[in-house]
């Protein structure tokens, strides 16, 4: 195996709207190696890869391929240099056949312009055989397993004679045996001289398959080297860093009676055997990696998903919630994640968004009292410090933080006993983040029972009394908020540790 660097990215800097995202980051990938790119959400991994892929242009810094300077001015250039990007969401067309996907956009045609189907099938079979799998090139992609779909993307990269393949969290949607197959494949690719940049949160996998690593944190390069010489803990520490303020917002206070009791909740393929209780005044945190099933779990609780088994008790009463309306009536509120898709009604005004779930409060003889709505909004505007000049403008004109506060106001107006926040500070600047967490804590102090879902461990540490860690749809640990360390949360979230094993 040669050791000449295939790719050198040198002192890359990039800022968006004046906010630096990458600060003098360098990355070197040698031919025929699997290089792990690590870091938490928002560390700058995707930006770095998008620069390599020609999607973004760096503000400073250079890229060399095989020792030659290259300017990745657009994705085409990057492809021509032999770089392929396999995204987390696979870019395959399910309603086309395998060979059609392989040659999509670069179909082989005869002189008359007709497709050379047999030739394309032959080449497809050849590449698939090289990867050690046997799929009929004429099979429809929708009939294949997810790992095979990934394989098609990889084959496509090989078809275009790629020398470097970037894989962004390729194993999130794969079952265990599929992961094995993928790793097998990656080793074969490595042998034939192809380099791979492997982005993942799952440290166990990285230890198994990668040769070298680079860790980013807050846009800076914090470590790079050979995997063999490191143990998982050091890498985790590098990722998390110690500089984050660990000041806890939440104070210990006494809890009231149990308001929510979830018993053995399971849903095929999403989550299983979920059991927990929530008391009045308590803040529970649920954390884990993306795709751990916590969002789906609480969507079920809220009546948005209906197919599940198990028991839910609210205030000691067995409830059957099959519609969000019933959740409301039972005393359950959900501030969903992905505000734009799930929470805001962008064509309605700020006031109307606030009143949407509790219009009954503003009605008189069936007609909405706009005056009453407006007065109520002003109350929340003061209480939550919502910055809006004219509340009659549509909500999409507000900043993310203010939108979120309006959504929180909407649920406070409903006045439920239990409030679930899913990723409440998504896409919100630091100042507003802090305010929102303070609001959540004060809600608990006023006697609400609160659940926070977040993939950012430091956030749940700051504001939760108890933290549940989930991994692949199961609760792997229940930790005390003030005792949990980020490393510990991480190791449960990545599946390298399980509380159940410890006990059993």
């Amino acid at each position: 195996m040669t050791t000449s660097p295939f790719l050198i990215m040198n002192n890359i800097e990039k800022a968006f709207n004046g906010v630096p995202v990458l600060k003098k980051v360098s990355l070197t990938v040698v031919e025929g190696e699997i290089h792990a790119l690590l870091g938490e959400n928002g560390a700058g991994k995707s930006t770095l890869m998008n620069i390599l892929g020609g999607v973004h242009q760096p503000d400073h810094g250079s890229i060399q391929i095989n020792g030659l300077d290259v300017r990745m001015s657009n994705p085409r250039v990057s492809q021509d240099q032999g770089i392929s990007f396999i995204h987390q969401e696979l870019n395959v067309v399910a309603d086309l056949r395998v060979y059609e996907n392989m040659f999509l956009g670069s179909e082989l045609r005869s002189k008359l312009g007709f497709l050379k189907v047999e030739e394309m099938c032959r080449q497809t079979s050849e590449i698939l055989a090289k990867l050690g799998v046997d799929i009929n090139p004429k099979e429809y992609v929708r009939n294949l397993e997810t790992s095979y779909k990934q394989l098609i993307e990889i084959s496509k990269a090989l078809l275009h004679k790629s020398k470097l393949i970037i894989m962004d969290e390729p194993t999130t949607s794969l079952a265990e045996h599929e992961v094995k197959r993928l790793f097998e494949l990656m080793r074969n690719l490595k042998k034939s001289g192809v380099s791979i940049i492997y982005i993942s949160h799952k440290l166990k996998e990285i230890k198994e398959i990668c040769d070298t690593y680079t860790v980013l944190r807050d846009g800076e390069l914090v470590g790079t080297g050979s995997i063999e010489n490191e143990n998982l803990d050091t890498i985790t520490k590098l990722m998390v860093g110690k500089s984050i303020s660990q000041e806890r917002l939440v104070q210990k206070h006494s809890f009231g009676p149990v308001v929510l009791e979830v018993n053995d909740l399971s849903s095929q393929g999403l989550y299983k055997n979920i059991t927990f209780t929530l008391r009045k005044g308590e803040i529970l945190g649920f954390t884990g990696l993306a795709g751990d099933g916590r969002t789906e779990l609480f969507e079920s609780l809220f009546g948005y998903r209906k197919k599940y088994t198990g028991q839910i008790k609210i205030n000691n009463q067995l409830v059957k919630i099959d519609h969000p309306r019933k959740a409301l009536e039972a005393g359950l509120a959900l501030v969903p994640k992905d505000r734009k898709e799930n929470a805001i009604i962008k064509d309605l005004s700020v006031i109307h968004n606030m009143s949407l779930s509790s219009i009954g409060h503003f009605e008189k003889a069936g007609f909405i009292q706009e005056k009453k709505e407006k007065d109520r909004f002003h109350y929340y505007k003061e209480r939550l410090n919502i910055k809006v000049h004219n509340p009659r403008i549509t909500i999409d004109k507000l900043s993310g933080g203010n939108q979120q506060k309006v959504i929180i106001a909407k649920w406070l107006e409903v006045d439920t006993d239990i409030i679930i926040f899913d990723n409440p500070t998504q896409g919100i600047d630091v100042g507003a983040k802090h305010e929102i967490y303070q609001q959540i804590v004060s809600l608990a102090e006023q006697g609400k029972a609160v659940i926070i879902l977040s993939s950012e461990a430091p956030e749940v540490q700051k504001v939760c009394h108890h933290i549940y860690v989930m991994y692949q749809g199961e609760i792997t640990a229940r930790l005390k908020g003030e005792q949990a360390t980020e490393d510990e949360i991480m190791s449960y979230a990545t599946g390298s540790k399980r509380e159940a094993e410890k006990i059993g």
Binding site: R325, I345, K346, L348, I359
Partner: protein, 325 residues
């Protein structure tokens, strides 16, 4: 008129004035367009301004106008109802039969309202519970309702046999014909429903973001069923007027292309095809614009075969202007 002039001049003004003009245009473009067309018509043909001609225009648009109100509500919710013309005929045929059988105008009206709302309810059921795209569900209803009407009337017309039924559409209050008054009253009612009640709020919400509406605890399915039933109800009001006007309804030629005229009025009125945005008053003026265009073409002896072309052109121009926003 001053507004129109200032907008048309691309003079370099301060940004605040400019943004205010943009706002004015986006909020009131239909009314401005209406004024422009009205003025143009008045200049082009002096007979246009004649009060009888004006009242005639109102009379002619009243039926489509009532249907278009319902269409606005569906389209605000992000759906569409293609079945309005066929349901109108179906309702007309059934209610005339009911009237002839019982001899009661009251029964006829009641039958119309019940049958129309029920057809709408079925549409709503297919869309909300059956999760069928509204285009497809109402396309099916369109074919089916027309077919049953044709079958019952054996392809011909059915006439009323009760004297007094024609009074509904053929009398007037002061200078206004009854259908015009009904159209105005319906506009006011639907306006209040859409802007002052929770139903209206929910329609806008689910048209803008159905998932967020559901996650806000809105009974989206029930609202949808309500929407299509409301359209059916408004269609049956239109059906009563249509039938009463000539004391008969033709199973083959009544209500043909009403869905297209109604959709045209809604689009000209500025309602967004994908829902969530639009106004009842916009549709009101959209209906009037269509009425003026038809009237002008008649006054100027434009071949009726060409009138569809002009209408098509206007719809496309209207949508192009809305895209600019």
């Amino acid at each position: 008129m001053a507004n129109v002039n200032t907008i048309k001049q691309p003079n370099p003004q301060t940004s605040s004035t400019k943004s205010r003009l943009t706002w004015l245009w986006s909020e009131y473009s239909v009314i401005i367009a209406f004024l422009v067309i009205f003025m143009a018509a008045a200049v082009m043909n002096p007979r246009f301004l004649d009060i009888n001609n004006q009242l005639n225009i109102l009379m002619q648009v009243s039926i489509i106008g009532i249907v278009a109100l319902g269409m606005t509500v569906v389209m605000l919710s992000g759906g569409i109802d293609l079945s309005v013309g066929s349901v109108l005929v179906f309702v007309g045929v059934i209610s005339v039969l009911a009237m002839n059988a019982t001899g009661s105008i009251f029964v006829a009206i009641l039958t119309a309202l019940v049958v129309g709302s029920f057809a709408g309810f079925l549409n709503g059921l297919m869309v909300a519970k059956g999760r069928i795209a509204s285009f497809i569900a109402t396309l099916g209803m369109m074919a089916a309702a027309r077919s049953i009407a044709l079958y019952i009337a054996e392809g011909g017309s059915i006439s009323g046999e009760v004297s007094g039924f024609t009074v509904i559409a053929n009398s007037n209050l002061w200078i206004f014909d009854f259908p015009v008054i009904i159209f105005f009253v319906m506009t006011a009612l639907v306006y209040v429903l859409m802007h002052k009640t929770r139903f209206g709020r929910y329609v806008y919400a689910l048209g803008s973001n159905e998932k967020a509406a559901l996650l806000s605890g809105i009974r989206v399915d029930r609202v949808k069923i309500g929407i299509y039933s409301l359209v059916g109800l408004l269609v049956s009001v239109a059906a009563i007027i249509e039938t009463s006007r000539l004391n008969s309804i033709s199973s083959s030629s009544s209500g043909v292309q009403y869905e297209l005229d109604a959709i045209a009025a809604v689009i000209i009125g500025g309602t967004r095809m994908t829902g969530g945005r639009g106004k009842i008053m916009g549709t009101f003026f959209g209906v009037l614009i269509l009425g003026i265009l038809n009237n002008m073409m008649n006054l100027m002896n434009v071949s009726p075969h060409l009138q569809g072309f002009v209408k098509g052109l206007i719809i496309i121009i209207a949508v192009v202007f809305q895209k600019r926003e």
